[in-house]
Each structure stands twice: as C-alpha cells, then as structure tokens.
C-alpha cells in the first residue's frame, strides 16, 4: 500500500523531504493557531466549564440519555440494514429479470426512492404511521426511520448489486453459459456470489450511511443519539459539549466501519479477485485505491 500509494509524484529526494517537513511544521503551527483561537473563544463562552463537562464524565448522563440513544441509533440501523438488504436483493433480481415490464416497474420504483430525500420520506411515513395508527404508537418514530432508511438504502443496495454484476468480467458469464449452465444457473451460481463478495466493502460502507442517517430520526422525535443528546442538554444545559461527544461517537463507529470495509477489500484482493475488472489491474488508479466502485460516493452521502 504505502509503496504503491501513489505514482502521481516521485519518491521524495533529500531536499524535497526537508521542504515537506517544513510544510508540515508550518501547517501544524497554523492549525494549532486556529485551534487555539477556537478553544479560546469556546472557553470565553464557558463551553469548557466544569459544570458542562462534569455530567459527561459522570455516569448518569450516559445511562439515562446517551446509551439509550446509542441503542436507538444502533437498533434502527440494524433493522434498516437487514430490511434494506432484502429490499435491495429482491429489487436487484427484479431489475435483472428477463421480463421487460417487471424490469421497468422495479427500475422506476428504485429510481424514485433514490431521488427523494430521506428526510422527506421519514416525515411522510411517520406522519402516515401516526395518522392511521399503523403500528403500536411507541414504534411510530422507529417505523418512520426504518421505512425511510429501508426504501432509500434498499434502492441503493439494489444498484450496488446490479453494478457488481455488471462489473464482473464479461467472460465469467460466458464461461458459465459455455459449461452448459442456463441463464438462471449462471446468475445464481457464478455471477451473484462474486458480485456480492466483490461488493461487500460497498455494502459495509453503506452501513455508515445508514448509521449517519438515523440521526435524521431526530426530526421525527425518534430516540437516537442526537435526540437523546438534546434531551440531556435541556437538563444539563451543555448542548455544545454534548454535540462534540455525539460527533465523536459517530466518527469512531463510522471510521471503524470504514476500516472494516477497507480490510475486507484488501482480504478480497489478496484472495485474488481476478474477477476485478482487468483494466483496474492494468492501472486503474494512480492515486492509490480506496475509492472503490464508482457508486460509492453516491452512497456515502445523504
């Protein structure tokens, strides 16, 4: 990785190394200065007062607010990823169906859910659940969150799987057919297993998206981290410190998931994904590769 990280530029010579170190020091000083200014301002406003931070160090804030909030976040994310996986799998099959109208309808549905903001779907489905009392009322908000996350992420996963199949070398399908497998058998035994394995990193990083998006549940009173943090802040009056803590929790979890995805990707590469697009081997990437399949951006957002 480090050796191959980039061929954009030459390995540094002695002068360049000195220059880079100088840049490093100057940059560090600049950043330290900015940070110091921020800290000073925050301090001036009392954001570092003991009264604001003490509850965070103490256990009660965690047991009464943040941990239940974290549980809410994880629970909604877990349910959503399972349902979205199922949704995505089914719609991927429908979108690859040999029957035209099925393909077309499935495509329209998937494209619609990809075009509508998750938050709007959340507000809407929550409103519907409340209005028609569709689920036990303690689950209104959870249902709203899960519905929106499932529809959106399921549609994205559908596209991920589809593009996974598309990105397999054409020869894999042809070899399957040549051995005498039918179209269906080829799809099932040759293409899908490889597509899903190849897309595993993308699917894991989709978890990051879902986890982040649970925070939208805040808007429909779903008890997740951000919401519980707000409730806690009404009591302790320490919103800014709490938001910092919550951001840290999200970053730690999501960063670990990202690392997990990268690890899986490396493992797959080691085990020899000769299935990877031959172009990629011939030189698909002069910036070092963690960018993954092109869909990734789309999915990381929202």
């Amino acid at each position: 990785m480090s050796q191959n990280a980039s061929v954009l530029f030459d390995a540094a010579g002695p002068k360049a190394r000195t220059r880079y170190r100088l840049f490093g020091v100057l940059g560090a000083l600049l950043i330290a200065a900015i940070l110091a200014a921020v800290v000073w301002k925050f301090n001036e406003q009392g954001q570092f007062e003991a009264a604001k931070w003490k509850p965070i160090v103490g256990g009660e804030l965690w047991t009464a607010y943040l941990l239940p909030g974290l549980w809410g976040t994880l629970r909604a994310a877990a349910i959503s990823i399972v349902l979205a996986g199922a949704f995505g799998g089914i719609f991927a099959l429908l979108r690859m169906s040999s029957i035209g109208p099925v393909r077309w309808v499935a495509g329209a549905i998937v494209e619609f859910f990809r075009a509508v903001p998750v938050l709007l779907m959340m507000i809407f489905s929550w409103g519907m659940y409340v209005k028609y009392n569709l689920v036990p009322s303690e689950y209104f908000a959870l249902a709203g969150v899960v519905t929106a996350l499932t529809l959106y992420n399921g549609s994205v996963i559908c596209e991920v799987i589809r593009s996974g199949v598309d990105q397999l070398p054409k020869g894999q399908r042809e070899a399957g057919l040549s051995v005498g497998l039918t179209q269906q058998q080829t799809l099932r035994t040759i293409l899908l297993p490889q597509a899903i394995t190849a897309m595993l990193p993308s699917l894991v990083s989709q978890l990051v998206v879902i986890l982040k998006d649970t925070a939208l549940g805040y808007n429909i009173t779903y008890l997740e981290l951000l919401y519980s943090g707000n409730t806690a802040a009404s009591n302790y009056g320490n919103l800014v410190p709490l938001l910092l803590v919550i951001a840290a929790i999200f970053i730690v979890i999501n960063y670990s998931l990202t690392k997990l995805a990268e690890w899986i990707e490396r493992r797959l590469a080691q085990r020899g994904r000769s299935v990877a697009d031959p172009d990629a081997m011939a030189g698909g990437g002069i910036a070092g590769s963690t960018a993954g399949p092109s869909l990734q951006h789309n999915r990381d957002l929202a």
């Binding site: 982040k212 800014v240 970053i251 172009d279 030189g283 990734q296 951006h297």
Partner: protein, 221 residues
C-alpha cells in the same frame, strides 16, 4: 392541493432549496478540490490533513455538522454572517452543506484520478515534465472528466441533503413538510407528493446532464 400553495410558501421553499443547492455546490467544488489536492500532494503533512478532513466530515451526520456551524460558530464564537438572522442561518446552512459535501467532492476527484491508468503520470514524468506540469497537463484534465459522474452523484446528494437544514430553521422543503405535518396534517400526503415531485424533477436533469457531459467529454482509452 391548491390550498397548500395558499397556506404555505411552497414556491419560496422550492426556491430556497434551489439556492442552497446551487451556492453550496459551487463552494463545495472549490473546497473539495483544495482538499483533494492536499490528499494527492507529495507533502505528507498535507496528505494527513486532507485525509483527516475527509474522515472527520464524512463520518459525522450532516445534521450535527449544521448544528456545529450555527451553535459553534455563531452562538459560541459570535461570528455573525448577517445581522438578519434568517440570512445568517441561511449562510450557516450553506457553510454546513459546503464543508460536508467538500469531503465527497474530494473523494469524487480522487476517484476521477483513479480512472487514469498508472502509466499516464509516469509517461508525463518520463518526458521530463515536473510534478506541477504533469498535474496540470496530464493528470487533472483527465481526472476532472473521469470525476464528472461521481461529482454528479455528489450534486444530486447535495440537493437532497439541503432538507437537513430544516433543523436550524431555514425554510426549504423539509421545513414546508414539517410545517404541514404540524398545522395541516391531513394535507401531508399532498405535501409529500409536491415535494417528492420537485426533487424528482430537480435531480433527474442533474443525472442526465452529468451523464451526457461525462459521455461527451469522456477520455477514450
């Protein structure tokens, strides 16, 4: 449905969504390019900075980032972007959207760079171009073309993500939906249809446009 238009400022909300999208898109492109150049630069410190930026911003919910902008910069540090509070909130919304999406712009550009075969930069250097020259003449022109599609995806995501700034009281379409839900909940379905239709109509041209552009400008290999 007509009554929704009378009772709520639907067109204003749509216009707000468009403004948020357009301005943040331009700023995010600029900031994202700077971060991308840092991430791709030979200077380890800059690379570290760029990478940290992306990892921090990308892994934090946008809602939180928007809060931080308003609560951290305005409320705590007292930086007021306009004496008019609605304008102030609007500008902070733009800052929040910009810094968040810049991380994705950076990744889009990086993946654009990744579409360039290894040999291109080496060939550039081996005819004697310096790092800067090879970046300018060979790498970036191709990278931007390869990045059009992911940049388009980022733009679409940005358009949809403008809904998040409802939490700081910017009157865009999620604000409209929440408002309807609060004050005329029997109209919620209509409101959803209006808002969803807007987003479908707003984002489809973006997808088609970037698709067309990337085909037209594609570097044939």
């Amino acid at each position: 449905m007509a009554s929704l238009f009378d009772q709520f400022d639907v067109l204003g909300a749509m216009w707000m969504t468009i403004k948020l999208t357009a301005i943040s898109a331009v700023l995010a492109l600029v900031l994202g390019t700077i971060v991308a150049i840092m991430r791709l630069s030979p200077v380890p410190a800059l690379r570290l900075l760029g990478t940290s930026y992306v990892n921090l911003l990308r892994n934090t919910p946008l809602t939180l980032i928007v809060f931080f902008c308003l609560l951290g910069m305005w409320q705590t540090m007292g930086i007021e972007l306009s004496p008019e509070l609605s304008v102030n909130a609007f500008r902070y919304a733009i800052i929040g959207l910009t810094v968040y999406h810049a991380a994705f712009v950076c990744e889009a550009l990086r993946s654009g760079v990744n579409t360039i075969p290894l040999g291109q930069a080496e060939a550039a250097r081996s005819i004697g171009l310096t790092f800067g020259q090879s970046l300018r003449e060979v790498v970036l022109p191709q990278a931007f073309r390869g990045a059009i599609t992911p940049l388009g995806n980022t733009l679409i995501a940005l358009a949809k993500n403008t809904t998040v700034v409802v939490t700081i009281g910017v009157a865009e379409l999620a604000y409209f939906m929440a408002d309807v839900n609060e004050q005329a909940s029997d109209q919620l379905t209509n409101a959803f249809i209006i808002a969803a239709a807007f987003f479908v109509l707003f984002t489809i041209p973006m997808g088609l446009g970037t698709g067309w552009l990337s085909k037209r400008l594609a570097v044939k290999r």
